[in-house]
């Protein structure tokens, strides 16, 4: 062990000793941290699952451009040529009106209707797959198509997916905001815990300063304590999220199945779990740092 690391090892040992000295109080503090963090963490995990659903359901979003009935085959070919030259379009498929009617007839419940028609009412159409996943690009293609004189109507087939995306994003931002608010509360909780510790260890701090301890030496065990308490809270929060997901995931999946949606919900990914632990530890460290800065710098101790 390097001499330079010795003060850190000592501080870590002191922090662990303080944590283990009162196991019930430590557990309750960790539980407060965990409960406050598990709510936004659970929300973010659910949003992540729903985001995956939105990405997975549609595959690539498609734009349908329905041509005017009077557009000839040559005109349709010219439209196709123009669309093929457009770099924003990844794939293009022409669906002649006769094929569209056949496809409609093939669908359950429409065979009788299509058979009763005197004339095919369906237009020729292009099914367009844009490059990338940028909604702004989809919208630009839609506008360009709508401006073509041969095109009667343009339909962005991924509209509902975009709405779901937007709802998931809104949910994710709401959860992040909630995490921020609850995080601030946790900083305050740690601030107060450390304040009480400083008060109870005032004598030791005073003696240490008198013997030549630097402020960093005095601060370090409190910072490690805050970090460890946050980390412990993060671990419990992780366990809570995993537990809640294990309980509710089958029920949500059953509900989704009744809407013909296949869902495979999962708990936090390793990256999300690591993020949760890091966030919790950071909050603890921040609360401890603020408390130590406030209470060891106002002359309260020496």
């Amino acid at each position: 062990m390097s001499i330079a690391l010795f003060p850190h090892r000592l501080a870590l040992r002191q922090a662990l000793a303080r944590l283990t000295a009162k196991p019930l109080a430590t557990f309750l503090s960790a539980l407060v941290v965990a409960i406050a963090l598990s709510l936004p963490a659970l929300g973010l995990v659910l949003m992540d699952n729903l985001g995956g659903l939105a990405r997975g359901v549609s595959g690539k979003p498609e734009i349908s451009a329905f041509l005017k009935r009077e557009v000839s085959a040559e005109q349709a070919q010219r439209v196709e040529n123009r669309l093929q030259a457009d770099k924003r379009i990844a794939a293009l498929r022409f669906v002649p009106r006769d094929l569209a009617l056949k496809q409609l007839a093939a669908r359950g419940g429409f065979a009788d209707v299509s058979g009763a028609l005197v004339e095919n009412p369906l237009p020729d159409a292009f099914i367009i797959e844009p490059t990338g996943e940028n909604p702004a690009v989809f919208e630009a293609i839609r506008t360009a198509l709508a401006a073509m004189p041969e095109v009667a109507h343009v339909q962005l087939d991924s509209a509902w997916v975009e709405r779901l995306h937007a709802a998931v994003e809104l949910g994710r931002w709401s959860m992040l905001l909630l995490a921020g608010l609850l995080g601030a509360a946790l900083v305050i909780v740690t601030f107060n815990t450390i304040r009480l510790q400083i008060l109870t260890q005032r004598h030791e701090i005073t003696v240490s300063l008198l013997l030549g301890a630097t402020r960093n030496f005095v601060r370090r065990p409190f910072l490690y304590f805050g970090l460890l308490q946050g980390l412990l809270g993060g671990l419990v929060a992780w366990a809570l999220v995993e537990g809640v997901m294990a309980l509710i995931a089958p029920r949500i999946e059953d509900l989704a199945r009744s809407y013909n949606i296949v869902l495979d919900l999962h708990g936090p990914t390793p990256l999300q779990a690591a993020g949760l632990l890091a966030f919790a530890a950071l909050l603890g460290w921040l609360g401890a740092g603020l408390s130590v800065r406030r209470h060891l710098h106002d002359g309260a101790v020496d």
Binding site: I3, L10, V207, L209, L210, L211, G212, A213, R215, D302
Partner: protein, 217 residues
């Protein structure tokens, strides 16, 4: 080693603890700082240890102007001093050994050698057999010895004690005085603030006398 240049210390509220005090303590000297209770002895020690700042004048310790030290320099000044305060300020939840170890921990002393140094310091004050004892179970004199061991464990160049024999019976007081004498004989500069100057006069000490914050001798 220690020099006071026209030092005045006035506390908020106007009380003047020290007024225009000047003196010098040279390396290897044993100086007894006398004076009645409230004469300014403790304030003088606090100024040396940078626990207070002078209102006017300069306090020099080992060539450093104590009053102008930045906060991050103060710990290093204190490490060069061995301080024995009037209240021994031992940590009651730690053993005698751990109390004496504390100055070595705060200075980041290699842990391997620290235990050896602690035992040497405890042996010097005759407390080697008590290292695993809690301070509260010791007598007043023994607690003072532990506080002295804690002050010398870092091998400071200056040893400063504020009323080291206060509240001790005469036998204990003589033992403590003899300890300081042995440190002085080993070459340590010593400043003792005491109202009981007779204890140290046989050891050829120089005397500084304060009266209501003024140097009178």
């Amino acid at each position: 080693m220690i020099r006071f240049e026209r030092v005045t210390k006035r506390y908020p509220g106007g009380h003047e603890a020290l007024a225009d005090v000047s003196f010098e303590i040279r390396h290897g000297e044993l100086v007894v700082l006398g004076g009645h209770s409230g004469a300014g002895k403790s304030t003088l020690i606090k100024l040396i240890a940078a626990l207070e700042k002078p209102t006017a004048g300069k306090v020099w310790v080992s060539g450093q102007d104590v009053g102008s030290l930045r906060p991050n320099q103060v710990p290093y000044l204190r490490r060069s001093l061995g301080l024995v305060m009037q209240e021994h300020r031992l940590l009651t939840d730690r053993t005698v050994f751990d109390n004496v170890m504390l100055p070595l921990l705060v200075t980041g002393y290699p842990p391997k050698d620290a235990a050896k140094r602690v035992r040497v310091a405890l042996d010097k004050v005759g407390m080697g057999a008590f290292e695993q004892v809690m301070p509260m179970t010791l007598s007043g004199g023994e607690q003072h010895r532990v506080a002295i061991a804690r002050a010398i464990v870092n091998r400071p160049s200056v040893l400063i004690a504020d009323e080291p024999t206060a509240h001790l019976d005469p036998a204990y007081a003589r033992e403590i005085a003899a300890l300081f004498r042995s440190f002085h004989q080993a070459g340590v500069t010593i400043l003792l603030a005491t109202h009981d100057e007779t204890l140290f006069s046989p050891y050829g000490s120089r005397r500084i006398e304060l009266d209501h914050g003024r140097l009178v001798a």
